[in-house]
Protein backbone atom coordinates (compact mmCIF):
# COMPACT_ATOMS: atom_id res chain seq x y z
CA UNK A 1 0.00 0.00 0.00
CA UNK A 2 2.74 2.40 0.89
CA UNK A 3 4.40 1.97 -2.48
CA UNK A 4 1.10 2.63 -4.25
CA UNK A 5 0.73 5.79 -2.18
CA UNK A 6 4.10 7.05 -3.23
CA UNK A 7 3.25 6.33 -6.84
CA UNK A 8 0.21 8.60 -6.52
CA UNK A 9 2.11 11.28 -4.64
CA UNK A 10 5.39 11.31 -6.54
CA UNK A 11 4.30 13.25 -9.61
CA UNK A 12 2.45 16.14 -7.89
CA UNK A 13 5.06 16.38 -5.13
CA UNK A 14 7.99 16.58 -7.55
CA UNK A 15 6.13 18.97 -9.86
CA UNK A 16 5.05 21.37 -7.12
CA UNK A 17 8.47 21.26 -5.49
CA UNK A 18 10.15 22.13 -8.77
CA UNK A 19 7.69 24.66 -10.16
CA UNK A 20 6.19 26.20 -7.06
CA UNK A 21 8.44 25.82 -4.01
CA UNK A 22 11.87 26.06 -5.67
CA UNK A 23 11.05 29.33 -7.50
CA UNK A 24 10.47 31.06 -4.16
CA UNK A 25 13.92 30.05 -2.98
CA UNK A 26 15.29 31.58 -6.17
CA UNK A 27 13.30 34.81 -5.77
CA UNK A 28 14.59 35.03 -2.23
CA UNK A 29 18.21 34.64 -3.32
CA UNK A 30 17.90 37.03 -6.29
CA UNK A 31 16.60 39.61 -3.83
CA UNK A 32 20.10 39.67 -2.36
CA UNK A 33 21.93 40.21 -5.65
CA UNK A 34 22.98 43.42 -7.30
CA UNK A 35 21.39 44.53 -10.50
CA UNK A 36 23.79 44.50 -13.43
CA UNK A 37 23.88 45.03 -17.16
CA UNK A 38 23.39 41.84 -19.13
CA UNK A 39 21.18 38.79 -19.43
CA UNK A 40 20.03 37.89 -16.82
CA UNK A 41 20.34 41.41 -15.42
CA UNK A 42 21.82 40.64 -12.01
CA UNK A 43 25.26 39.85 -10.63
CA UNK A 44 25.86 36.31 -9.37
CA UNK A 45 25.34 35.67 -5.68
CA UNK A 46 27.91 32.91 -5.48
CA UNK A 47 31.38 34.10 -6.50
CA UNK A 48 34.86 32.64 -6.58
CA UNK A 49 37.98 34.03 -4.94
CA UNK A 50 41.24 33.97 -6.79
CA UNK A 51 42.33 30.89 -4.84
CA UNK A 52 39.22 29.10 -6.08
CA UNK A 53 37.20 29.12 -2.88
CA UNK A 54 33.55 30.20 -3.13
CA UNK A 55 31.97 33.07 -1.25
CA UNK A 56 28.54 34.68 -1.14
CA UNK A 57 28.25 38.28 -2.26
CA UNK A 58 25.17 39.35 -0.30
CA UNK A 59 23.70 42.68 -1.19
CA UNK A 60 21.25 44.13 1.31
CA UNK A 61 20.71 47.37 -0.61
CA UNK A 62 17.43 46.20 -2.21
CA UNK A 63 15.78 45.53 1.13
CA UNK A 64 17.26 48.67 2.66
CA UNK A 65 15.83 50.72 -0.21
CA UNK A 66 12.37 49.19 0.32
CA UNK A 67 12.37 50.28 3.94
CA UNK A 68 14.11 53.63 3.46
CA UNK A 69 12.26 54.97 0.46
CA UNK A 70 8.77 56.09 1.53
CA UNK A 71 7.56 55.40 -2.03
CA UNK A 72 7.70 51.63 -1.46
CA UNK A 73 6.35 51.69 2.08
CA UNK A 74 3.45 53.83 0.92
CA UNK A 75 2.78 51.46 -1.96
CA UNK A 76 2.65 48.53 0.47
CA UNK A 77 0.32 50.33 2.86
CA UNK A 78 -1.87 51.56 0.01
CA UNK A 79 -2.12 48.02 -1.38
CA UNK A 80 -3.17 46.62 1.98
CA UNK A 81 -5.74 49.39 2.40
CA UNK A 82 -7.16 49.01 -1.10
CA UNK A 83 -7.39 45.23 -0.72
CA UNK A 84 -9.10 45.54 2.68
CA UNK A 85 -11.63 48.12 1.45
CA UNK A 86 -12.35 46.04 -1.68
CA UNK A 87 -12.85 42.90 0.41
CA UNK A 88 -15.20 44.84 2.70
CA UNK A 89 -17.19 46.08 -0.33
CA UNK A 90 -17.39 42.50 -1.65
CA UNK A 91 -18.66 41.39 1.75
CA UNK A 92 -21.26 44.15 1.81
CA UNK A 93 -22.63 43.16 -1.60
CA UNK A 94 -21.90 39.45 -1.44
CA UNK A 95 -23.28 38.54 1.98
CA UNK A 96 -26.89 39.53 1.27
CA UNK A 97 -26.62 37.78 -2.10
CA UNK A 98 -25.39 34.55 -0.51
CA UNK A 99 -28.09 34.75 2.17
CA UNK A 100 -30.78 35.36 -0.45
CA UNK A 101 -29.62 32.37 -2.50
CA UNK A 102 -29.65 30.11 0.57
CA UNK A 103 -33.17 31.27 1.46
CA UNK A 104 -34.41 31.02 -2.14
CA UNK A 105 -36.65 28.09 -3.17
CA UNK A 106 -34.49 24.97 -3.55
CA UNK A 107 -35.06 24.58 -7.26
CA UNK A 108 -33.69 28.06 -7.95
CA UNK A 109 -30.51 27.71 -5.93
CA UNK A 110 -28.32 25.94 -8.50
CA UNK A 111 -29.31 28.39 -11.23
CA UNK A 112 -28.74 31.45 -9.00
CA UNK A 113 -25.37 30.12 -7.94
CA UNK A 114 -24.50 29.53 -11.58
CA UNK A 115 -25.38 33.14 -12.33
CA UNK A 116 -22.89 34.25 -9.66
CA UNK A 117 -20.16 32.02 -11.08
CA UNK A 118 -20.79 32.67 -14.78
CA UNK A 119 -18.96 36.03 -15.01
CA UNK A 120 -15.98 34.44 -13.28
CA UNK A 121 -15.69 31.94 -16.12
CA UNK A 122 -15.59 34.64 -18.78
CA UNK A 123 -12.51 36.69 -19.44
CA UNK A 124 -11.40 38.78 -16.50
CA UNK A 125 -9.66 41.21 -18.83
CA UNK A 126 -12.77 41.73 -20.95
CA UNK A 127 -14.87 42.34 -17.84
CA UNK A 128 -12.44 45.08 -16.83
CA UNK A 129 -12.78 46.37 -20.39
CA UNK A 130 -16.53 46.65 -19.88
CA UNK A 131 -15.89 49.00 -16.97
CA UNK A 132 -13.72 51.21 -19.15
CA UNK A 133 -16.73 51.47 -21.48
CA UNK A 134 -18.92 52.41 -18.53
CA UNK A 135 -16.61 54.90 -16.90
CA UNK A 136 -14.69 56.72 -19.59
CA UNK A 137 -15.42 60.39 -20.33
CA UNK A 138 -17.62 59.51 -23.29
CA UNK A 139 -18.71 56.27 -21.69
CA UNK A 140 -22.12 54.84 -20.93
CA UNK A 141 -22.49 56.39 -17.48
CA UNK A 142 -21.43 59.87 -18.58
CA UNK A 143 -23.64 59.65 -21.68
CA UNK A 144 -26.60 58.76 -19.49
CA UNK A 145 -25.82 61.55 -17.00
CA UNK A 146 -25.48 64.11 -19.81
CA UNK A 147 -28.67 62.93 -21.51
CA UNK A 148 -30.59 63.20 -18.26
CA UNK A 149 -29.17 66.65 -17.67
CA UNK A 150 -27.70 65.68 -14.31
CA UNK A 151 -24.31 67.05 -15.29
CA UNK A 152 -23.25 69.52 -17.95
CA UNK A 153 -19.79 68.18 -18.63
CA UNK A 154 -18.53 64.59 -18.35
CA UNK A 155 -17.45 63.61 -14.84
CA UNK A 156 -13.99 62.11 -14.56
CA UNK A 157 -14.72 58.54 -13.47
CA UNK A 158 -12.07 56.47 -15.21
CA UNK A 159 -8.53 56.51 -13.80
CA UNK A 160 -9.78 57.26 -10.30
CA UNK A 161 -9.73 55.34 -7.04
CA UNK A 162 -13.48 54.85 -7.40
CA UNK A 163 -13.00 53.07 -10.71
CA UNK A 164 -10.32 50.86 -9.19
CA UNK A 165 -12.52 49.88 -6.23
CA UNK A 166 -15.45 49.16 -8.54
CA UNK A 167 -13.26 47.00 -10.76
CA UNK A 168 -11.74 44.96 -7.94
CA UNK A 169 -15.09 44.50 -6.19
CA UNK A 170 -16.68 43.48 -9.46
CA UNK A 171 -14.05 40.93 -10.39
CA UNK A 172 -13.66 39.32 -6.98
CA UNK A 173 -17.32 39.21 -5.91
CA UNK A 174 -17.84 35.48 -6.71
CA UNK A 175 -14.94 34.61 -4.37
CA UNK A 176 -16.89 36.21 -1.53
CA UNK A 177 -20.32 34.79 -2.35
CA UNK A 178 -19.29 31.13 -2.71
CA UNK A 179 -17.64 30.48 0.68
CA UNK A 180 -20.37 32.42 2.51
CA UNK A 181 -23.01 30.45 0.65
CA UNK A 182 -21.21 27.22 1.59
CA UNK A 183 -21.30 27.97 5.34
CA UNK A 184 -24.83 29.41 5.28
CA UNK A 185 -26.24 26.38 3.47
CA UNK A 186 -24.92 24.12 6.24
CA UNK A 187 -26.66 26.19 8.89
CA UNK A 188 -29.30 24.31 10.89
CA UNK A 189 -32.72 25.88 10.22
CA UNK A 190 -34.07 24.66 13.55
CA UNK A 191 -31.87 27.20 15.34
CA UNK A 192 -33.73 30.03 13.60
CA UNK A 193 -37.08 28.37 14.31
CA UNK A 194 -36.14 28.07 17.98
CA UNK A 195 -35.18 31.74 18.04
CA UNK A 196 -38.49 32.67 16.45
CA UNK A 197 -40.40 30.49 18.93
CA UNK A 198 -38.62 32.25 21.75
CA UNK A 199 -39.81 35.55 20.33
CA UNK A 200 -36.70 36.85 18.59
CA UNK A 201 -37.45 39.15 15.68
CA UNK A 202 -35.79 38.21 12.37
CA UNK A 203 -33.13 40.92 12.69
CA UNK A 204 -32.26 39.80 16.20
CA UNK A 205 -32.16 36.13 15.09
CA UNK A 206 -29.87 37.11 12.21
CA UNK A 207 -27.49 39.05 14.44
CA UNK A 208 -27.28 36.46 17.19
CA UNK A 209 -27.43 33.23 15.15
CA UNK A 210 -26.89 33.48 11.39
CA UNK A 211 -24.13 36.08 11.39
CA UNK A 212 -21.88 34.53 14.08
CA UNK A 213 -22.29 31.02 12.64
CA UNK A 214 -21.35 32.21 9.15
CA UNK A 215 -18.14 33.80 10.41
CA UNK A 216 -15.87 31.06 8.97
CA UNK A 217 -17.35 31.72 5.52
CA UNK A 218 -16.90 35.47 5.96
CA UNK A 219 -13.25 35.03 6.94
CA UNK A 220 -12.59 32.62 4.07
CA UNK A 221 -14.26 34.95 1.57
CA UNK A 222 -12.44 37.97 2.95
CA UNK A 223 -9.06 36.27 2.57
CA UNK A 224 -9.90 34.91 -0.90
CA UNK A 225 -10.53 38.51 -1.99
CA UNK A 226 -7.96 40.29 0.14
CA UNK A 227 -4.85 38.22 -0.59
CA UNK A 228 -4.91 38.26 -4.40
CA UNK A 229 -6.14 41.86 -4.38
CA UNK A 230 -3.02 43.02 -2.49
CA UNK A 231 -0.86 42.05 -5.46
CA UNK A 232 -3.41 43.02 -8.12
CA UNK A 233 -1.85 44.57 -11.20
CA UNK A 234 -4.34 44.62 -14.07
CA UNK A 235 -7.23 46.53 -12.46
CA UNK A 236 -5.19 49.42 -10.94
CA UNK A 237 -3.28 49.63 -14.21
CA UNK A 238 -6.34 49.82 -16.46
CA UNK A 239 -8.86 51.60 -14.22
CA UNK A 240 -6.89 53.34 -11.47
CA UNK A 241 -5.20 56.72 -11.70
CA UNK A 242 -1.47 57.34 -11.97
CA UNK A 243 -1.48 57.89 -8.22
CA UNK A 244 -2.70 54.38 -7.56
CA UNK A 245 0.80 52.95 -7.23
CA UNK A 246 -0.02 49.61 -5.69
CA UNK A 247 2.66 47.09 -4.95
CA UNK A 248 1.75 44.79 -7.84
CA UNK A 249 2.08 47.69 -10.24
CA UNK A 250 5.36 48.85 -8.67
CA UNK A 251 6.79 45.33 -8.97
CA UNK A 252 5.68 45.14 -12.61
CA UNK A 253 7.30 48.49 -13.40
CA UNK A 254 10.56 47.60 -11.65
CA UNK A 255 10.67 44.36 -13.57
CA UNK A 256 9.47 45.25 -17.05
CA UNK A 257 10.36 48.92 -17.39
CA UNK A 258 13.38 49.41 -15.12
CA UNK A 259 14.62 45.84 -15.61
CA UNK A 260 15.68 45.80 -11.97
CA UNK A 261 15.15 42.10 -11.29
CA UNK A 262 16.82 42.10 -7.85
CA UNK A 263 14.63 44.94 -6.58
CA UNK A 264 11.49 43.27 -8.02
CA UNK A 265 12.50 40.06 -6.22
CA UNK A 266 12.99 41.90 -2.94
CA UNK A 267 9.54 43.49 -3.39
CA UNK A 268 8.04 40.03 -3.95
CA UNK A 269 9.74 38.65 -0.83
CA UNK A 270 8.43 41.45 1.38
CA UNK A 271 4.95 41.17 -0.15
CA UNK A 272 4.96 37.44 0.48
CA UNK A 273 5.96 37.91 4.11
CA UNK A 274 3.25 40.54 4.52
CA UNK A 275 0.70 38.00 3.26
CA UNK A 276 1.88 34.94 5.17
CA UNK A 277 0.96 36.63 8.44
CA UNK A 278 -2.83 36.86 7.76
CA UNK A 279 -2.89 33.32 6.33
CA UNK A 280 -1.09 32.03 9.41
CA UNK A 281 -3.56 33.80 11.67
CA UNK A 282 -6.45 32.34 9.70
CA UNK A 283 -5.07 28.81 9.88
CA UNK A 284 -4.43 29.11 13.59
CA UNK A 285 -8.05 30.21 13.95
CA UNK A 286 -9.35 27.41 11.76
CA UNK A 287 -7.32 24.87 13.74
CA UNK A 288 -8.94 26.06 16.96
CA UNK A 289 -12.46 25.92 15.53
Amino acid sequence: MNRARWLVLALPVVWMALFFAAPFAIVFSIGFTESAEGIPPYAPLLRWREDGSPYLQLNLENFRLLFDDPFYIEAYLRSLRVAAISAALCLLIGYPMALAIVRAPARWRAALLMLVVLPFWTSFLLRVTAWIGLLQDRGWINSALLALGVVEAPVALLYTDLAMYLGITYCYLPFMVLPIYATLSKLDDSLLEAAADLGARPVRAFLSITLPLSLPGIIAGFLLVFIPAVGEFVIPELLGGPGAQLIGRVLWTEFFQNRDWPLASALAVVLLIALVVPIGLFQARAARA
Binding site: P12, A21, L126, R127, A130, L173, F175, P228, V230, L238
Partner: protein, 267 residues
Protein backbone atom coordinates in the same frame (compact mmCIF):
# COMPACT_ATOMS: atom_id res chain seq x y z
CA UNK B 1 -43.25 26.90 -1.07
CA UNK B 2 -41.11 29.49 0.59
CA UNK B 3 -40.92 32.85 -1.08
CA UNK B 4 -37.96 35.11 -0.92
CA UNK B 5 -38.53 38.12 1.31
CA UNK B 6 -38.30 41.53 -0.27
CA UNK B 7 -35.42 42.61 1.95
CA UNK B 8 -33.37 39.78 0.45
CA UNK B 9 -34.75 40.00 -3.07
CA UNK B 10 -33.68 43.62 -3.46
CA UNK B 11 -29.97 43.11 -2.64
CA UNK B 12 -29.94 39.95 -4.77
CA UNK B 13 -31.39 41.84 -7.71
CA UNK B 14 -29.01 44.75 -7.26
CA UNK B 15 -26.08 42.36 -6.94
CA UNK B 16 -26.97 40.63 -10.20
CA UNK B 17 -27.50 44.01 -11.87
CA UNK B 18 -24.01 44.99 -10.74
CA UNK B 19 -22.60 41.72 -12.11
CA UNK B 20 -24.45 41.69 -15.42
CA UNK B 21 -25.11 45.27 -16.50
CA UNK B 22 -21.52 45.85 -17.71
CA UNK B 23 -21.55 42.52 -19.54
CA UNK B 24 -24.94 43.14 -21.16
CA UNK B 25 -23.90 46.60 -22.32
CA UNK B 26 -20.82 45.05 -23.88
CA UNK B 27 -22.92 42.44 -25.67
CA UNK B 28 -25.36 45.07 -26.93
CA UNK B 29 -22.63 47.34 -28.25
CA UNK B 30 -20.87 44.48 -30.01
CA UNK B 31 -23.76 44.70 -32.51
CA UNK B 32 -23.36 48.45 -32.91
CA UNK B 33 -22.83 49.84 -36.37
CA UNK B 34 -20.76 52.79 -35.23
CA UNK B 35 -17.07 52.81 -34.45
CA UNK B 36 -17.97 54.77 -31.31
CA UNK B 37 -18.04 52.36 -28.45
CA UNK B 38 -20.83 54.13 -26.59
CA UNK B 39 -23.33 55.55 -29.08
CA UNK B 40 -25.70 53.03 -30.59
CA UNK B 41 -26.41 53.92 -34.22
CA UNK B 42 -27.76 50.69 -35.68
CA UNK B 43 -27.50 46.93 -35.77
CA UNK B 44 -24.54 45.39 -37.53
CA UNK B 45 -22.35 42.32 -37.44
CA UNK B 46 -19.35 44.12 -38.90
CA UNK B 47 -17.28 43.91 -35.71
CA UNK B 48 -17.58 40.15 -35.73
CA UNK B 49 -16.21 40.21 -39.27
CA UNK B 50 -13.44 42.56 -38.19
CA UNK B 51 -12.65 40.28 -35.27
CA UNK B 52 -12.17 37.22 -37.47
CA UNK B 53 -10.11 39.28 -39.90
CA UNK B 54 -7.81 40.50 -37.13
CA UNK B 55 -4.85 38.23 -37.66
CA UNK B 56 -2.87 39.13 -34.53
CA UNK B 57 -5.91 38.47 -32.36
CA UNK B 58 -6.78 35.21 -34.11
CA UNK B 59 -3.20 33.96 -33.91
CA UNK B 60 -3.10 34.77 -30.20
CA UNK B 61 -6.46 33.05 -29.71
CA UNK B 62 -5.21 29.81 -31.26
CA UNK B 63 -1.99 29.95 -29.28
CA UNK B 64 -3.97 30.50 -26.08
CA UNK B 65 -6.38 27.66 -26.86
CA UNK B 66 -3.44 25.33 -27.48
CA UNK B 67 -1.68 26.36 -24.26
CA UNK B 68 -4.96 26.06 -22.34
CA UNK B 69 -5.67 22.55 -23.64
CA UNK B 70 -2.15 21.29 -22.88
CA UNK B 71 -1.86 22.95 -19.48
CA UNK B 72 -5.39 21.92 -18.42
CA UNK B 73 -4.58 18.29 -19.24
CA UNK B 74 -1.35 18.41 -17.23
CA UNK B 75 -3.13 20.24 -14.40
CA UNK B 76 -5.89 17.64 -14.34
CA UNK B 77 -3.44 14.74 -14.02
CA UNK B 78 -1.43 16.50 -11.30
CA UNK B 79 -4.45 17.88 -9.48
CA UNK B 80 -6.42 14.62 -9.51
CA UNK B 81 -3.47 12.73 -8.03
CA UNK B 82 -2.83 15.46 -5.46
CA UNK B 83 -6.51 15.85 -4.53
CA UNK B 84 -6.88 12.11 -4.16
CA UNK B 85 -3.77 11.87 -1.98
CA UNK B 86 -4.81 14.81 0.20
CA UNK B 87 -8.31 13.50 0.74
CA UNK B 88 -7.63 9.81 1.14
CA UNK B 89 -4.21 9.49 2.70
CA UNK B 90 -4.98 10.51 6.25
CA UNK B 91 -1.39 10.97 7.28
CA UNK B 92 1.92 10.83 5.55
CA UNK B 93 5.16 12.60 6.20
CA UNK B 94 4.96 16.22 5.04
CA UNK B 95 1.19 16.11 4.48
CA UNK B 96 0.63 19.55 6.02
CA UNK B 97 3.39 21.09 3.92
CA UNK B 98 2.13 19.39 0.76
CA UNK B 99 -1.41 20.59 1.49
CA UNK B 100 -0.18 24.14 2.00
CA UNK B 101 1.83 24.08 -1.23
CA UNK B 102 -1.15 22.72 -3.16
CA UNK B 103 -3.41 25.45 -1.74
CA UNK B 104 -0.99 28.36 -2.01
CA UNK B 105 -1.38 29.01 -5.78
CA UNK B 106 -5.10 29.65 -5.19
CA UNK B 107 -4.39 32.91 -3.42
CA UNK B 108 -0.81 33.72 -4.40
CA UNK B 109 -0.65 37.15 -6.05
CA UNK B 110 0.03 36.56 -9.71
CA UNK B 111 2.97 38.95 -9.86
CA UNK B 112 4.83 36.78 -7.34
CA UNK B 113 4.04 33.49 -9.09
CA UNK B 114 4.99 34.95 -12.45
CA UNK B 115 8.24 36.51 -11.28
CA UNK B 116 9.35 33.42 -9.36
CA UNK B 117 8.62 31.04 -12.24
CA UNK B 118 10.47 33.27 -14.67
CA UNK B 119 13.51 33.34 -12.43
CA UNK B 120 13.34 29.54 -12.20
CA UNK B 121 13.20 29.19 -15.98
CA UNK B 122 16.10 31.62 -16.41
CA UNK B 123 18.09 29.71 -13.78
CA UNK B 124 17.31 26.33 -15.33
CA UNK B 125 18.27 27.57 -18.75
CA UNK B 126 21.64 28.90 -17.63
CA UNK B 127 22.34 25.73 -15.61
CA UNK B 128 21.03 22.99 -17.92
CA UNK B 129 20.17 24.74 -21.18
CA UNK B 130 16.54 23.73 -20.69
CA UNK B 131 13.99 25.17 -21.28
CA UNK B 132 15.76 26.84 -24.19
CA UNK B 133 14.26 30.29 -24.31
CA UNK B 134 10.73 31.08 -23.23
CA UNK B 135 7.43 30.80 -25.06
CA UNK B 136 4.38 28.57 -25.25
CA UNK B 137 6.09 25.72 -23.33
CA UNK B 138 7.03 27.79 -20.31
CA UNK B 139 3.57 29.38 -20.22
CA UNK B 140 1.98 25.90 -20.31
CA UNK B 141 4.16 24.71 -17.41
CA UNK B 142 3.26 27.80 -15.38
CA UNK B 143 -0.45 27.39 -16.08
CA UNK B 144 -0.39 23.68 -15.29
CA UNK B 145 1.10 24.51 -11.90
CA UNK B 146 -1.61 26.88 -10.69
CA UNK B 147 -4.31 24.94 -12.55
CA UNK B 148 -3.36 21.81 -10.59
CA UNK B 149 -4.15 23.61 -7.35
CA UNK B 150 -7.70 24.38 -8.54
CA UNK B 151 -8.24 20.84 -9.86
CA UNK B 152 -7.13 19.41 -6.49
CA UNK B 153 -9.81 21.48 -4.73
CA UNK B 154 -12.54 20.33 -7.12
CA UNK B 155 -11.48 16.67 -6.78
CA UNK B 156 -11.43 16.88 -2.99
CA UNK B 157 -14.94 18.35 -3.01
CA UNK B 158 -16.09 15.53 -5.26
CA UNK B 159 -14.47 12.88 -3.06
CA UNK B 160 -16.22 14.38 -0.03
CA UNK B 161 -19.59 13.04 -1.22
CA UNK B 162 -18.19 9.71 -2.28
CA UNK B 163 -19.59 6.48 -0.87
CA UNK B 164 -16.61 4.56 0.45
CA UNK B 165 -18.57 1.33 0.78
CA UNK B 166 -18.48 0.88 -3.00
CA UNK B 167 -14.69 0.66 -2.91
CA UNK B 168 -14.80 -1.59 0.12
CA UNK B 169 -17.24 -3.91 -1.63
CA UNK B 170 -14.93 -4.15 -4.64
CA UNK B 171 -11.96 -4.88 -2.40
CA UNK B 172 -13.95 -7.51 -0.51
CA UNK B 173 -14.70 -9.14 -3.85
CA UNK B 174 -10.98 -9.37 -4.44
CA UNK B 175 -10.24 -6.44 -6.76
CA UNK B 176 -6.70 -5.06 -6.56
CA UNK B 177 -6.34 -1.40 -5.45
CA UNK B 178 -5.38 -0.25 -8.94
CA UNK B 179 -8.39 -2.01 -10.43
CA UNK B 180 -10.66 -0.51 -7.77
CA UNK B 181 -9.36 2.92 -8.65
CA UNK B 182 -9.94 2.45 -12.38
CA UNK B 183 -13.31 0.70 -12.21
CA UNK B 184 -14.98 2.34 -9.20
CA UNK B 185 -13.22 5.51 -8.10
CA UNK B 186 -12.36 7.13 -11.40
CA UNK B 187 -15.82 6.84 -12.99
CA UNK B 188 -17.40 8.21 -9.83
CA UNK B 189 -15.13 11.23 -9.63
CA UNK B 190 -15.20 11.72 -13.43
CA UNK B 191 -17.57 14.73 -13.23
CA UNK B 192 -15.06 16.36 -10.88
CA UNK B 193 -12.23 15.56 -13.26
CA UNK B 194 -14.13 17.14 -16.16
CA UNK B 195 -15.07 20.19 -14.08
CA UNK B 196 -11.44 20.52 -12.96
CA UNK B 197 -10.20 20.34 -16.54
CA UNK B 198 -12.67 23.03 -17.62
CA UNK B 199 -11.67 25.25 -14.71
CA UNK B 200 -7.96 24.87 -15.48
CA UNK B 201 -8.66 25.51 -19.17
CA UNK B 202 -10.56 28.72 -18.41
CA UNK B 203 -7.95 29.97 -15.95
CA UNK B 204 -5.20 29.40 -18.49
CA UNK B 205 -7.15 31.16 -21.21
CA UNK B 206 -7.68 34.12 -18.91
CA UNK B 207 -4.25 34.61 -17.41
CA UNK B 208 -2.38 37.79 -18.31
CA UNK B 209 0.11 38.43 -15.54
CA UNK B 210 1.86 35.06 -15.22
CA UNK B 211 1.98 34.63 -18.99
CA UNK B 212 3.53 38.10 -19.39
CA UNK B 213 6.36 37.10 -17.08
CA UNK B 214 7.13 33.64 -18.45
CA UNK B 215 6.39 34.11 -22.13
CA UNK B 216 8.96 35.08 -24.69
CA UNK B 217 9.09 37.05 -27.92
CA UNK B 218 6.74 35.72 -30.58
CA UNK B 219 4.50 33.93 -28.10
CA UNK B 220 1.85 36.52 -27.22
CA UNK B 221 -1.21 34.91 -25.68
CA UNK B 222 -4.72 36.26 -26.20
CA UNK B 223 -4.84 38.21 -22.89
CA UNK B 224 -1.46 39.79 -23.70
CA UNK B 225 -2.78 40.99 -27.08
CA UNK B 226 -6.07 42.19 -25.54
CA UNK B 227 -4.16 44.03 -22.81
CA UNK B 228 -2.04 46.00 -25.24
CA UNK B 229 -5.12 46.69 -27.39
CA UNK B 230 -7.13 47.96 -24.42
CA UNK B 231 -4.31 50.28 -23.41
CA UNK B 232 -4.53 51.90 -26.84
CA UNK B 233 -8.29 52.33 -26.55
CA UNK B 234 -11.51 50.36 -26.75
CA UNK B 235 -12.74 48.96 -30.02
CA UNK B 236 -16.07 47.20 -30.68
CA UNK B 237 -14.05 44.16 -31.81
CA UNK B 238 -13.17 43.52 -28.18
CA UNK B 239 -16.88 43.59 -27.33
CA UNK B 240 -17.55 41.06 -30.09
CA UNK B 241 -14.83 38.82 -28.68
CA UNK B 242 -16.28 39.14 -25.17
CA UNK B 243 -19.74 38.27 -26.48
CA UNK B 244 -18.53 35.14 -28.26
CA UNK B 245 -16.65 34.07 -25.15
CA UNK B 246 -19.72 34.64 -22.99
CA UNK B 247 -21.87 32.52 -25.31
CA UNK B 248 -19.28 29.73 -25.28
CA UNK B 249 -19.03 29.77 -21.50
CA UNK B 250 -22.80 29.90 -21.00
CA UNK B 251 -23.25 26.91 -23.32
CA UNK B 252 -20.51 24.97 -21.53
CA UNK B 253 -22.08 25.73 -18.15
CA UNK B 254 -25.54 24.70 -19.35
CA UNK B 255 -24.13 21.40 -20.55
CA UNK B 256 -22.29 21.01 -17.26
CA UNK B 257 -25.46 21.73 -15.29
CA UNK B 258 -27.37 19.25 -17.42
CA UNK B 259 -24.84 16.54 -16.56
CA UNK B 260 -24.89 17.40 -12.88
CA UNK B 261 -21.55 19.15 -12.62
CA UNK B 262 -22.65 21.82 -10.18
CA UNK B 263 -20.46 24.88 -10.81
CA UNK B 264 -20.89 25.94 -7.19
CA UNK B 265 -18.41 23.24 -6.30
CA UNK B 266 -15.57 25.39 -7.57
CA UNK B 267 -13.70 27.19 -4.76
Amino acid sequence: MRRLKLRLLVPLGLGFAFLYLPILLMVAFSFNDSRMVTEFTGFSLRWYGALFANEALMQALFLSLRIAAISATMATILGTLAGFALFRFARFRGRALFGAIMAAPLVMPEVITGLSLLLLFVGLESAFGFPAGRGADTVAIAHATFGAAYVAVVIQARLADFDLSLEEAAMDLGARPWKVFCVITLPLIAPGVVAGWLLAFTLSLDDLVIASFVSGPGASTLPMVIFSAVRLGLTPELYALATLLLVAVALALLVALRFGLAPGRAP
